[in-house]
């Protein structure tokens, strides 16, 4: 991600530790989003991602590395695409934002 020298890399961060209230059963997670008053059904991956982004802001390639390091060559691109889509969806819901 450093190919764009001189251009700042955007980083992702969960919006706030107090924004979400959780209920969980097994791999199923339900989140109540205080700012919007909306309730959402999330899978374990989304919850893990939100939790990771609460600890520190991460760039996309750091998210990929922390979240799902590719063990097979060629998977990296697919995982990046999947995580990028997940981040955008969570951003749309107000759970994460870009710095």
């Amino acid at each position: 991600m450093n190919e764009q020298a001189g251009k700042e890399i955007s980083r992702w961060l969960s919006t706030g530790p107090d924004d979400l209230v959780w209920a969980a059963w097994g791999h199923d997670h339900i989140a109540y989003h205080r700012p919007s008053g909306k309730t959402h059904f999330l899978n374990a991956s989304s919850r893990y991602l939100i939790t990771e982004l609460l600890c520190e802001p991460l760039a996309l390639d750091e998210v990929v590395e922390a979240f799902a390091p590719a063990e097979i060559e060629g998977e990296q691109s697919a995982q990046t695409t999947r995580l990028c889509a997940m981040l955008e969806r969570l951003e749309h819901l107000g759970f994460v934002r870009q710095l």
Partner: protein, 312 residues
């Protein structure tokens, strides 16, 4: 002392004539947790209302009421030859006048509407609820899924009716608050219940309403006598009537149950985080199931047998 105690005066302690006079001057009733004041000048209402409400405790007219509702029969406009009824609550009519022949369902729907619009001290789930042996089944469903038919069937086989329309829960609690009301059967369900229990007390069939033909089943006297006794929910069953379906009960995940309950509540978003915690608490203490049926006898038998086994 609970409201609805044995010494309270019941509607049946009046004659039909006295009841009709009270309807005109103002009838004060305890309906679940609600104190209701009802005025109605439609003569056609007194006999069916008397039959359906005979077990309800009457209140002093000096009470503080949760709502005052009126049903006024009058000439229509511009068709003055047509009689209409106007439902109003605290002096305001929430919808247009309706044909006078529909006075009973208009009043019943009107009371439901008032409860749904005003009772935000409760989380209100669109659900029926029945109780047996201290354990309640919550039956949440969208309209047309056979919820009321199933609820009526269970209540006519010994289950205590808590409600056929509202799953009422105080925020932060998980017990269901009874609000037993006449159960509004629609269309084919009326004959289904007549065949299921010929002794059931069913009000007049009113045709051509916005929901087709409707008729109301009287709640049992026990349901009214015990309407101050909340019941803990043990099972959440999402019923669905489907033509010729085999009766089947399938457990679903708690998360699925949660999302269905949250989207089916009347006021989940209004109560916000309190509603979230209440639904989570409810789901935590229950098992959730999908229930498909077409035959009411089978459905009632299966749920009753299952509840007896699961409670052991």
């Amino acid at each position: 002392m609970s409201i609805g105690a044995a010494d309270a005066k019941r509607v049946r302690d009046c004659s039909v004539g006295e009841f009709a006079s009270k309807l005109i001057s103002g009838l004060s009733l305890q309906i679940g947790p609600f104190a209701a004041r009802i005025h109605a000048n439609s003569a056609r209402l007194s006999a069916p209302l008397y039959a359906l409400y005979q077990d309800y405790p009457m209140l002093s007219d000096e009470n503080v009421f949760h709502f005052h509702v009126r049903l006024d029969e009058r000439r229509g406009f511009p068709r003055v030859d047509k009689r209409v009824v106007r439902f109003s609550v605290d002096g305001r009519a929430p919808h247009e006048d309706m044909p006078a022949a529909q006075a009973l369902p208009v009043l019943e729907w009107g009371i439901n509407l008032v409860i749904a619009l005003r009772s935000h001290s409760f989380l209100m789930l669109h659900a029926a609820a029945v109780e047996n042996g201290g354990r309640a089944i919550l039956l949440p469903a969208a309209p047309g899924q056979g919820k009321t038919t199933l609820c009526a069937g269970l209540s006519l086989r010994g289950w205590r009716l808590l409600s056929d329309e509202f799953g009422l829960i105080r925020p932060g609690h998980t017990e269901l608050i009874p609000v037993p009301r006449p159960m509004a059967l629609k269309n084919e369900s009326i004959d289904v219940i007549r065949r299921f229990e010929p002794e059931a007390v069913i009000g007049p069939e009113i045709s051509n309403t916005r929901k087709g033909t409707v008729a109301h089943v009287k709640p049992s006297a026990q349901s009214i006598d015990e309407m101050r006794q909340a019941a803990p929910a043990h099972w959440i069953v999402f019923p669905r009537w489907r033509h010729e379906a085999s009766t089947s009960l399938t457990e679903v995940s708690k998360a699925e149950g949660f999302m269905f309950l949250a989207t089916n509540a009347f006021n989940y978003e209004l109560l916000g985080e309190a509603a979230f915690h209440t639904v989570a608490g409810l789901v935590n203490q229950t098992r959730c199931f999908r229930f498909e049926y077409s035959d009411l006898d089978d459905a009632v038998e299966m749920l009753t047998d299952f509840a007896a086994r699961d409670a052991e």
